[in-house]
Each structure stands twice: as structure tokens, then as C-alpha cells.
């Protein structure tokens, strides 16, 4: 590609003629150009590929004021004293040797040229890319209605600018369904729906939202997004793709959301729980996050290579999940667009390069280090209860010590750590022996021991006693280390490592959760917004860098980010703010008065196809077949035969899919076994990721495979016939049955058209199956669940077809 070259004085004069009659002062009077929002995206998109942070020495650079004003031998890219002399301006207007050059993939538009010129003439001021400056709350816009929330005022301001207003509120039933799906991944139960519909009080909706937030399914649903992001899987992911024991981590995540653990703690435990003082079991289990990268033990692989590869994966995933930054480029060279140096990549890499696990997994389930942890959700609940009990006993003991006035005891107590205090309570010679505390602790200890017998292993992070040295790897090649060892360090363009923070994972966690960090809370609230409203405020949730999209509502994003931090990283609070907004309550029908197909104004409610898990879970609850057990080893529902065997290594312990029986067939989809090289087809067909790499936004496609799956898959047929039985048993007339079906999946009764076409279908199907008992029985023996023999087979078969159809219709599979 051509370089900028020094131009002659003659050409310079020619420029003055061409550009004719500019003067610095005239430009200064215009509205100042916003560098971060208007100029930087152009430079990044069209210029940085050659003139960015990784340009060679002595080459013209445009990525910072210092670089752009370097004297390149009589000329500067940007000449602050005489802006019109700037090489940048000259070359972008140069017809004979333009920039970007003729053959460049991307050229400047006339508007962009004009904007660049204006910016240079106004003095060519630089500022930081918006995402690298810590968010601040701005003044909330006045929109003439102070009763609406801050969120709404930011949104409405932009809608009003287009001469429009909020869309009308969605119907109450629609809103009930929408809020329940967004918060819990399920439509509301009929009881909950009715209680909301019958509640005419002013705060009915807020009460309803609180009930949803208190359901266990809330944590399960929120966990699903996180498990996508951290690429949680039940297998190692590479080569043999053998089983990996790490599901206690998944159950901990669900529990953390349900307990509303502050998200800064949530992050810290996962990055560095093991490095906290006296870490609890939960904090250690949380470090499974660090171990989530796919691993291999393929014959012949070189350990050093995978030490590097595993850690590339870890570093880059953290870039995506927490920083919203694409670090991948900087693995091999200084980032072309974002101000991330090659060395800085390895500074981040160094934080995670000293974990103790072997780089090769040995194809082992217990790929150490591991700990024993609660084996399912209830066991976690019990663990928390026992922790609480222990704290309470210690607290009472403390009171006892204070009251007793025994100085010796006081001293011993004061000097004892937690474990020693427990030992004192257990000691029959200590004064506690005569109090109920002694018996209480004995019982608690016995309970703990009994519980621990059921515990199972889970992969965790542990630090090597002596840190592993990190070197810059040339071109990202593990066997090309260069220079001096690199210390763990954070990105220079963001906040510094907090004072006193250690240079290890814990220090990194402190940096990430610091109020000064410019990206983490923004990235977090953006993803939450995305799951509530269907699209993020930044529509590239994985990339807040220069190549990412600009936020549609920058001030709102910042307001939410700060609000989230100020609330103590309270996720339930954040969700409450969003789902109780007027913005959320809008009807999702497309508007004729606004041309906004991508809903960038958020001037209508969210509407999109529901996720794979939700589609299956809706069928499970409508048929009343859901097994509510939470957590534990992944379950294996129906799956077409041979899917695992077809591709697995003969030595793999996941080559054979052994389908579960009984209740385990009907667990929530969150618990479906995740074999990373071959996830369940009903998940992947509906865009669930393979969990081999981080996914912070699923695609939402519409394919014929989905149609086939919705209508033909064994479990869907099975659940449809169980739902049909339920309808027949719970309602007397066909009309009432159809209404019940619609209430289960759409939270409302069938409307006139729906009733008409469904009744026609029912009539046709009744005719068909009443005359062909054999076909009816064929349909009704799909799946393992026993059919209710008291019911007429023809009728159940006919209703089964109606249920399958409605469950495959937009009323059931969309959020709207």
C-alpha cells in the first residue's frame, strides 16, 4: 500500500488553490466536531489499517495527537499551527495520489472528507475513544413528563426527535408473558398470571416482577447467558472430548443469581476466589471459570504449545466477556485499531499463566486441581444454610465470651481463627461445653460430614507456588518467546491497577471491578439490556473497541453502567429498572409512523424467536411434565441415534450417548448435557453455541431444520400428547381446552381467528384419528411417557396435533 510521501512546495501551493480560501477562524465558528464519536470511527475504519497503532516506525500515524504531529521531515500528518498544511488534508483530497489509495478496500465518502477537514481546521483535537473513558451519569433529558423513569427519558428524547412518541403499551397479558420470559425463561404459571391479572392495584406490575425475580427459574435463566459467555461445557472439548467434572460450577452460578450475589463479587470469585483470604468453598468452586477453556490430550501434542493455547483462549475470552474487547489481534502483533500493544496482551496473559493445572487434560474427568463440592442445587442450598448456621453459632459464642468475663477465654478467643474457634466450641473442656452451642456445633459438624459424603469433584483454579514466567511470543508462536519476562499488567488505555492490588488474578479482579474501569460495567449492562430488549445499546456486545458499533444511546448506557455500580452491582435492581420501564412495556407491533426496522430507537417492544432452551422448557411446563429438580450431572433426553458415535474417537468416553430414563428426560434444558463437539441437536438447530468459544450473542436464524424439529422431534411430540391429555382432563369443552392451551403458551385465550382455524384442524384430525386407531396409537406411543388409557386415543391424537401446531406457531415460539 502506498505511503504518504513528502510533497513539494509546488504541490502545496496547488493545494491552496484547489482548497481555496479557507481560514482557520471561519471553521472555528462551526459546531465543534466530536472527535470520539465522529472522527475516530472514520480514522479507525479507513486509515488505521496502515496508519494505526501498529504502523512501522517512521511511518505516518493517525492514532494519537503525538503520533500525528511527528515531524516527518518537513511535514506533519497534522499541523496544529497551520491546519491547512496538514498532510492528512492534502492527501485525502489529492486526485492523483489519494488516500486511502485507489486500490484500498474502503474509501472515504465526500461527507467523511468534509468532516475530517472540518476537524483538522478546528485544530485537530484528539480525545479518547468513548469506551476508554469511565462512564458518568449525565443530566437526564427533560421530555415533559417527569413521571417516567430515567431510562424512559433517555429513550423518549430520541423518539421525540423523530417526531414520534412511545408505542402504546402492550396488553396486560402480553406484558405478563414478556416479563416472565425475559426474567425466568418461561411464561408465567396460570396461578401467577391470574393473580397479576386480578390485581388492580397501582403497583400490581411491580409486585408481579418481584415475584418473578424470586423464582428459582430466574437464576436458571440468567445463568444460561453467563454459561454461553464463559463457554461452559460438560466435556473437555478437544480430541477425545471426554467427560469433564465441573457441573458444581454451573449450579453455583444458578445459585449466585438466585441469591443475587453482587456482580462484582460474582466476577471476583470467578477470577480469583482461591486467592481471597480464607476462601470459602463457594469462592473456590467459582474459579471453575478460569478452567473453562477447551483442552486436549491428543497423542503427540506438545505441552508447551497448549500451555500457550489454553491461555490465549482464556485471555481472549476474558477480553470478550468482561472487557468487550477483541484482544485476539494483539496475540500476534500490536492491535491494528485499538490501542493495545503486543506487549500488553502478554501482560494480561501473565495474570493467568501461573495456574497449576497441567496444560494437557489427560482425558481425565478429574483434571486437577479439583475440589469436592455440592453435587446439585439442593446440596448447595444446604451448604449455604450450614454456613449461615455456623456463622450464627460463632456469633452467639462471641456474645457468650463477652458476657462471661473470663479474661483467659477472651484472650484465647481473640487469638483464634475461625477453625480454632470451632475447635474450642467442640472441646468438652472449654466453658462452651455446658452451653447449647457445644451441641449445636457437634450437630453442624456431623451434618457437614454427612453432606460432604455426597459431594462431587469440580475443576478449580490454583496458583503455582512459583509463578510461571511469561514472555512475549513473536507472532503468537509458543516457541518464539522474546525479550525479558513480562509482569502481569493491565491495559494502559484503561484505568491503572488499583493501588495495592497484587499482580495476580485477584489484582486483576480488583481492576476489573474498580469504579474507574471504563468498560466492564458498560459491557455488563449492555448485555443485560440485550437480553431484555432483544438488541444491545451497543450492537456489538463483544466489541466496544474502535471497530465496534457506537452505542445508539450513549448517555443511557453510561447512566445504566453507573447506576449498576452505585446499586452495588445489583443485577435484580438493574433488571427491575429495565422491565418496569415504559420502554419495555411498549407494544411490539411494527410502527407505520417510524422507519426503524432494526428498532434502534427502541420505539417498540422486543420481538424475536425464543432461545432453544426456552422453546423446550415451554413444552415441558405446558404438558406439566417438567421435573423441577435443579442441578447435578447433565441430563440426556431423546436424541437421534448415532450422533455421538458417528464422529467420536473410539477411545472417547463420550462416544456413546446413553439416553436417560424417567424424570431425567424432563429436566429443564439448562441441564441438558453439553458435549462440546456435538451438543444436543435441538439446541444447536436453534442457535445454541457449541460452547467451544465464548458467545455473548446468539444468532437468531430461521431454517427448515427448525421447522422439522418443532414438528417431528420425539420429545416435542411426546410433550404435545401429554399436554393434550392435560387439556382434555382439565377442561370440559373443546373451546375451553383451546383457551387453556393458549393460556399456557401465550398467557391469553385464543382469539377468534385462532379459535376458528384450530377448531377446524381439530375437527379434521378427530375425523382422521377416530377412523384410524392404529395411526392414533402410533402417535400416542412416541416417547417414553405412558399414555392415559382412560382417555379416548382418537381424541388425544387429534388434540396432540393441535398442540404440536400451536406450540410451533409464533404465539408460542416468539417473544412479543
Amino acid at each position: 500500500m502506498l505511503n504518504f510521501v513528502k510533497r513539494s512546495a509546488n504541490v502545496c501551493c496547488a493545494l491552496m488553490v484547489v482548497a481555496g480560501g479557507w481560514s482557520g477562524s471561519a471553521w472555528a465558528e462551526d459546531k465543534p466536531v466530536d472527535f470520539a464519536r465522529e472522527i475516530l470511527p472514520i480514522l479507525s475504519d479507513k486509515c488505521f489499517v496502515c496508519h494505526g497503532p501498529d504502523a512501522k516506525k517512521d511511518e505516518l500515524r493517525l492514532d494519537s495527537l503525538e503520533a500525528a504531529t511527528v515531524d516527518l521531515g518537513g511535514y506533519q500528518a497534522l499541523n496544529p499551527k497551520t491546519p491547512s498544511e496538514s498532510e492528512l488534508i492534502f492527501r485525502i483530497f489529492d486526485k492523483t495520489d489519494p488516500m486511502p489509495p485507489e486500490k484500498a478496500e474502503k474509501k472515504l465518502t465526500d461527507e467523511e472528507r468534509a468532516l475530517l477537514k472540518k476537524w483538522v481546521m478546528q485544530g485537530g483535537k484528539y480525545s479518547k475513544h468513548w469506551a476508554f473513558v469511565a462512564p458518568k451519569k449525565s443530566e437526564v433529558p427533560k421530555v415533559g413528563d417527569d413521571s417516567i423513569s430515567e431510562v424512559d427519558r433517555y429513550v423518549l428524547e430520541k423518539i421525540k426527535a423523530k417526531g414520534a412518541e412511545f408505542a402504546p403499551e402492550a396488553e396486560k397479558t402480553t406484558l405478563a408473558r414478556r416479563a416472565a420470559l425475559v426474567l425466568t425463561g418461561l411464561p408465567p404459571s396460570l396461578e401467577l398470571l391470574d393473580s397479576f391479572m386480578n390485581d388492580s392495584s397501582e403497583k400490581a406490575y411491580e409486585k408481579y416482577v418481584d415475584k418473578l425475580l424470586a423464582q428459582d427459574s430466574y437464576g436458571e435463566h440468567q445463568a444460561r447467558y453467563w454459561l454461553d459467555a464463559v463457554r461452559y461445557g460438560d466435556t473437555h472439548g478437544l480430541h477425545l472430548d471426554n467427560k469433564r467434572g465441573i457441573y458444581p460450577y454451573r449450579d453455583w452460578v444458578v445459585s449466585a443469581f438466585n441469591r443475587n450475589l453482587p456482580m462484582d463479587d460474582f466476577i471476583t470469585y470467578q477470577l480469583a476466589g482461591d486467592l481471597l483470604p480464607n476462601p470459602t468453598l463457594e469462592q473456590i468452586v467459582a474459579t471453575g471459570f478460569v478452567r473453562m477453556n477447551p483442552t486436549t490430550s491428543e497423542g503427540g501434542v506438545i505441552a508447551a504449545e497448549f500451555q500457550a493455547k489454553n491461555n490465549f483462549d482464556r485471555t481472549e475470552s476474558i477480553g470478550t466477556v468482561l472487557l468487550g474487547m477483541t484482544l485476539n489481534c494483539a496475540r500476534c502483533h500490536t492491535h491494528k485499531y485499538d490501542p493495545i500493544l503486543h506487549e500488553e496482551y502478554f501482560g494480561l496473559f501473565a495474570f493467568f499463566n501461573s495456574t497449576a493445572e497441567s496444560p494437557l487434560d489427560g482425558n481425565k474427568y478429574e483434571y486437577g486441581p479439583t475440589v469436592k463440592a455440592p453435587q446439585h442445587y439442593d446440596a448447595w442450598e444446604q451448604w449455604y444454610a450450614m454456613q449461615k448456621e455456623e456463622a450464627s453459632l460463632l456469633h452467639k459464642a462471641e456474645e457468650h465470651v463477652k458476657q462471661k468475663g473470663d479474661e483467659g477465654l477472651k484472650k484465647r478467643w481473640a487469638e483464634a481463627d475461625k477453625e480454632a474457634r470451632i475447635a474450642m466450641l467442640l472441646n468438652p473442656r472449654e466453658p462452651f461445653a455446658i452451653t447449647p452451642l457445644h451441641q449445636g456445633v457437634i450437630k453442624l459438624q456431623n451434618d457437614m460430614k454427612a453432606a460432604e459424603k455426597g459431594y462431587t469433584t469440580t475443576l478449580v483454579a490454583k496458583e503455582l507456588p512459583k509463578p510461571r514466567k511469561t514472555f512475549l511470543l513473536k507472532r503468537g508462536e509458543y516457541n518464539l518467546p522474546s525479550g525479558e519476562p513480562i509482569e502481569p499488567d493491565v491495559l494502559g488505555v484503561m484505568n491503572p491497577l488499583p493501588e495495592g492490588a497484587p499482580r495476580n488474578r485477584l489484582g486483576f479482579a480488583k481492576w476489573v471491578t474498580s469504579r474507574e474501569n471504563p468498560v466492564v460495567s458498560r459491557v455488563w449492562v449492555n448485555r443485560v439490556w440485550q437480553r431484555v430488549f432483544g438488541e444491545g445499546l451497543v450492537r456489538t456486545p463483544e466489541d466496544f473497541g474502535l471497530q465496534g458499533q457506537q452505542p445508539t444511546h450513549p448517555e443511557l448506557l453510561d447512566w445504566l453502567a453507573v447506576e449498576f455500580q452505585e446499586s452495588g452491582w445489583d443485577l435484580k435492581h438493574l433488571l427491575r429498572v429495565m422491565v418496569t420501564s415504559r420502554t419495555f412495556k411498549q407494544s411490539s407491533a411494527w410502527r407505520k409512523d417510524l422507519k426503524d426496522p432494526e428498532n434502534k430507537l427502541f420505539a417498540r417492544g422486543p420481538a424475536h424467536r425464543l432461545a432453544a432452551e426456552t422453546l423446550r422448557d415451554i413444552a415441558l411446563v405446558s404438558s406439566d411434565m417438567l421435573d423441577p429438580t435443579m442441578g447435578g450431572e447433565g441430563v440426556k433426553p431423546y436424541q437421534p441415534s448415532g450422533m455421538w458415535a458417528a464422529m467420536s474417537h473410539p477411545a472417547s468416553n463420550t462416544k456413546k450417548y446413553v439416553r436417560d430414563k424417567g424424570e431425567r428426560l424432563y429436566r429443564k434444558s439448562l441441564y441438558v448435557y453439553y458435549k462440546r463437539t456435538s451438543p444436543h441437536p435441538m439446541m444447536t438447530i436453534f442457535d445454541a453455541p457449541s460452547r467451544e468459544s465464548s458467545c455473548v450473542r446468539r444468532s437468531r436464524t430461521s431454517t427448515p431444520s427448525q421447522s422439522l424439529g418443532l414438528l417431528n422431534e420425539t420429545q416435542r411430540v411426546e410433550l404435545a400428547r401429554k399436554c393434550a391429555e392435560r387439556l382434555i382432563k382439565e377442561a370440559k369443552t373443546d373451546e375451553a381446552r383451546l383457551d387453556l392451551l393458549f393460556r399456557l403458551v401465550a398467557s391469553r385465550k385464543a382469539n377468534e381467528v385462532e379459535a376458528k382455524v384450530c377448531m377446524q384442524l381439530l375437527a379434521g384430525m378427530k375425523q382422521r384419528y377416530e377412523t384410524s386407531q392404529e395411526d392414533a396409537m402410533g402417535l400416542l406411543t412416541t416417547g417414553e411417557a405412558k399414555r392415559d388409557e382412560n382417555l379416548d386415543a382418537g381424541e388425544v391424537a387429534a388434540w396432540t396435533q393441535v398442540v404440536i401446531t400451536v406450540l410451533a406457531s409464533d404465539a408460542a415460539i416468539l417473544l412479543y
Partner: protein
């Protein structure tokens, strides 16, 4: 009725926007119901005009020679020294040490890296020249020998990967790491499908092979919208997952359900004007058509005996490599853009003479038959056929030298062949050194192979890109040059 399978324009978000179909067109299609679909419609791919540019590419970058690809992937790393790359020097030096100046510090896998000695091992098989072109082949490939004048053998392939997982992923996605779209997904994204009734990217794996594992990411869509992922055809009654109706549901019953769905959706569309509803209708209709078109396409029973004889008797055994080759031809006839076969079992760390002979027996005749069959139907000119694995094998033996020797993985050189659309026949390209260890001339990197494949389809590999995580990704990463010398 024609419903465009790929009418959706992609946003870089990976979410679909369904704005491509006109409302009038949609309502027409609903009005017609599904009754108007005749089987004849299904056999006929779209007319040329309709087929033009169904993907994101508005125009071909280059004049396309091939319309489609059949990739016969030989997983495990076939030994080039015992098939295509004749090295008499190795027979002369059999049993002597691999000289350090040849190895040049090349890293070895963990399997032979600890070996005290690396004895060279000559091929036990006889090599001869064949055809007008005089292409060298070992006697393990008697059928390929008959079509050498139609194929271009590339002996100078190389890669950086030394293990299977990364190696296969590299060839199929351009990166050794999981997460990138596969070649078929890129083509589906760029060019779309030629046949509205079949998936544009179909994968078939030889059954009961085992060996080094395959992973669905190899035909995955990576960060591209997942509709571009390959659809694996299985042998048996459901070539596509969930294709068959449940027991007790026949075609008429299904049609009634779909008509009901149509009416429900039409009502919702009327109310909400959301174009994604239109897309879904189209997908239900396509699914219904596939329930007829797929069984028709995959039904080999009407193939005449001489065709079975051509492909070899295994062709009657569903899921075998010959049967999959025959199926590939049928899918090619129906306009499927990318047909990817996998045949595992080429990982001869030991027992190479017997193991490799078996592999050749399983694949040689059918691979050659595919060329012959396409040619006799006048389809070879427009169908690119590629045969090859993820890397080569070492010129020294793994473990102690014995009759039943094996060879370790070797990334520095390996052989593949290409034939058909856009490729010169009767060509041997590239040379390795007399030891068969390093490339002597005209090296072809994995990215070069990919660039060449795209070139034959009319795609400049540098221009088919997708923006994700702030970067324009492409199949060939930031490398690759089409190998002009083998292009017709």
C-alpha cells in the same frame, strides 16, 4: 411457487433481518397454500437467472469456472510417500538416519519427539507413471491411475499444524482454533444455494470408521449466522435430522397442520407487520418440500447396475465411502453448492503397509468413479473435486523400524489432488526434496489451497469477508494466493 431460501440479508450482528421478501409476494404464497407444490418443482434447481447471487455477494469477483465443490476429505493424514510423492531415495537410504540438515530443527510431535533414532523408511509400494501426463502413483491407487489425466496432483502442500484437531480445523476453517466458519459456510454465505429444496452445504461421513474424531465445528458456521452451517446427511431413514414425520402422521395430515400454521401466522403478520413472521412461513414450506426432495435425492435404488459397478460394490452399502460418493454426484446434479465427505482412518502411526492398503481399497475406486461419472454426465467442468487430508506423514518411521512400520504426522509437505471445474487435468504441481521431507519448489499453503478453491468458484478470497469482533474475517485469514499454475 418459489420461495427464496436465502432471501435474508445479513446484518453483521448475526441476527436475521427478514426484510427481503415483499409483502405481496408473501401473501400470494400463503394464499396458494402448499397444495401447489409438485414433485417436479423439487427436482429442478432454480433457473440460471434466479440462481444468480443468492448470497451476500452482489457479483462474482472473478469469472466462475466451478459451480460447486465435492471435497473428499481423507481424515488422519494420508501418507504422501506411499501414494503420490515417489521418493526412490528413501528406498536407497532405507534404515539410515534422517540427516539433521534435512530436518532443520523441525519440531516433532510428542509421539516421535523422544525417539533416539529417526530411521528413514522407503515406501514398500511400487510406483509407476500413468496416463498421457505420466503422473506418478503408487500401486495402491489403480483406479485413480485411470483418471490421472483429469486431475492435478499437488505434492507441495504444507501446514503448520502437527495434530489432527488443529490440522483438520485449519483446512476446513482457515484457523487452527475453533470458532471460525467452515469453508462450506463461507460459500453458503457468499453464494447462497442453487437449489431451493435442499440445503446448500451437505456433509457425509463414512460410517463405522472411527479413528481420529471429527467435530461438528468442521462444518459449523462459526460467527456467521448458523443457517450457513453444513447439514450432515446420515445414512438411514432420516438423512436430515427430524425429516420423517412421527408415527401416525402422513403427508396429508402434515399439510393440514401447516395450512393451520399459515393461517395463524398470516393473522399475526396482519396485526404486527413483523417480517420475521414471513421468513418463518417460508421455512415451514421449505421443510415440507425437503421432506419430499431429500428422500428423492438420497434414494440410490434407481441407479443402474453399471453405476454401482463403476463406484464399486460398497456403493450398495449405505453410509460407505462409495455410497457417499454416489450420493455426492446425485446432490451435485441437484445443485448443492458444497458437498463434503469425510473418510477417517488415515492415521497410520503403525501397521502402515496393511492400514494404508485398506484405506486405499475403500476410497480409490469410488474417488476415481466420481470423476468418471461426473465427466460422462458433462458435469466435471463445473464441479470442483478435491481429495486430501490435513497433513502428511514422516519419511522416517515411528518407533523401531520393522515390516509393520508406521509414520508420524508431518506438516512440512503432503499431497492432495484436485479435478474438474477450473482445474487443469494431467498436472503434477510442486516438488519435495529427494527425502520427501521439505518442499523443494512451489509450496502450497493451506490458505493457498483455500484461495484456489474460492478462485474456481469466482470468489476473490480477500474480498469475501465478514465483520465480527471489530475485524473483517475471511477464510484465508490474512494470507493465501490462488495457485494460478493449476487453474485451467
Amino acid at each position: 411457487m418459489k420461495v427464496n431460501m436465502t432471501m435474508n440479508h445479513q446484518r453483521c450482528t448475526g441476527h436475521e433481518s427478514a426484510l427481503g421478501m415483499s409483502r405481496r409476494r408473501f401473501l400470494n404464497s400463503v394464499g396458494m397454500g402448499l397444495g401447489g407444490i409438485a414433485l417436479a418443482d423439487m427436482m429442478n434447481p432454480m433457473s440460471a437467472a434466479e440462481a444468480a447471487m443468492k448470497g451476500v455477494m452482489k457479483n462474482f469477483h472473478l469469472a466462475p469456472k466451478a459451480k460447486r465443490i465435492i471435497f473428499l476429505f481423507q481424515a488422519g493424514g494420508p501418507s504422501q510417500i506411499d501414494t503420490f510423492d515417489y521418493k526412490p531415495t528413501l528406498n536407497k537410504l532405507h534404515g539410515t538416519q534422517l540427516p539433521d540438515e534435512v530436518r532443520k530443527g523441525q519440531r516433532l510431535t510428542g509421539m516421535s519427539g523422544n525417539q533416539a533414532s529417526l530411521p528413514l523408511v522407503g515406501s514398500p509400494f511400487k510406483f509407476e507413471q500413468h496416463g498421457k501426463s505420466g503422473t506418478w502413483l503408487s500401486d495402491r491407487l489403480p483406479h485413480t491411475a485411470k483418471v490421472v489425466d483429469d486431475i492435478a496432483v499437488v505434492r507441495s502442500m504444507y501446514t503448520e499444524a502437527i495434530n489432527h484437531g488443529p490440522g483438520v480445523t485449519y483446512i476446513q476453517t482457515g484457523s487452527q482454533f475453533p470458532g471460525r466458519p467452515s469453508m462450506g459456510a463461507w460459500l453458503n454465505y457468499g453464494l447462497g444455494s442453487e437449489n431451493e429444496n435442499l440445503p446448500g452445504f451437505i456433509v457425509m461421513v463414512t460410517k463405522n470408521k472411527g479413528g481420529q474424531p471429527l467435530v461438528s465445528r468442521l462444518w459449523g458456521s462459526g460467527f456467521l449466522p448458523s443457517k450457513h452451517q453444513g447439514v450432515r446427511f446420515r445414512s438411514g431413514k432420516d438423512p436430515i435430522l427430524y425429516l420423517t414425520n412421527p408415527d401416525g402422521v402422513d403427508k396429508t395430515t402434515r399439510k393440514r397442520m401447516l395450512d393451520t400454521l399459515n393461517e395463524l401466522h398470516a393473522m399475526k403478520l396482519e396485526k404486527e407487520s413483523d417480517p420475521q413472521i414471513e421468513t418463518r412461513i417460508a421455512q415451514y414450506e421449505l421443510a415440507f418440500r425437503m421432506q419430499m426432495s431429500v428422500p428423492e435425492a438420497t434414494d440410490l435404488s434407481k441407479e443402474p447396475d453399471h453405476i454401482y459397478e463403476l463406484y464399486g460394490n460398497g456403493a450398495k452399502n449405505p453410509g460407505s465411502f462409495p455410497a457417499n460418493c454416489l450420493m455426492a454426484r446425485r446432490l451435485a446434479e441437484r445443485g448443492v453448492r458444497f458437498i463434503q465427505l469425510y473418510h477417517q482412518g488415515w492415521d497410520q502411526h503403525g501397521g502402515l503397509p496393511g492400514g494404508l492398503s485398506n484405506q486405499c481399497k475403500e476410497t480409490d475406486q469410488a474417488s476415481a468413479a466420481l470423476i468418471t461419472d461426473l465427466k460422462q454426465r458433462g458435469m466435471l467442468d463445473e464441479t470442483l473435486v478435491v481429495w486430501g487430508g490435513e497433513f502428511g506423514r514422516t519419511n522416517y518411521c515411528q518407533g523401531k523400524l520393522s515390516k509393520n512400520f508406521g509414520r508420524d504426522h508431518h506438516p512440512r509437505c503432503f499431497s492432495i489432488w484436485m479435478a474438474g471445474g477450473g482445474i487443469k487435468g494431467g498436472v503434477t504441481y510442486g516438488e519435495t526434496d529427494p527425502y520427501g521431507y521439505n518442499i523443494a519448489s512451489d509450496g502450497v499453503h493451506v490458505h493457498d489451497l483455500q484461495a484456489t478453491i474460492l478462485h474456481t468458484l469466482g470468489i476473490d478470497h480477500e474480498r469475501l469477508t465478514y465483520k465480527y469482533q471489530g475485524r473483517r474475517f475471511r477464510l484465508t485469514d490474512v494470507h493465501g494466493h490462488a495457485v494460478k499454475d493449476i487453474l485451467a
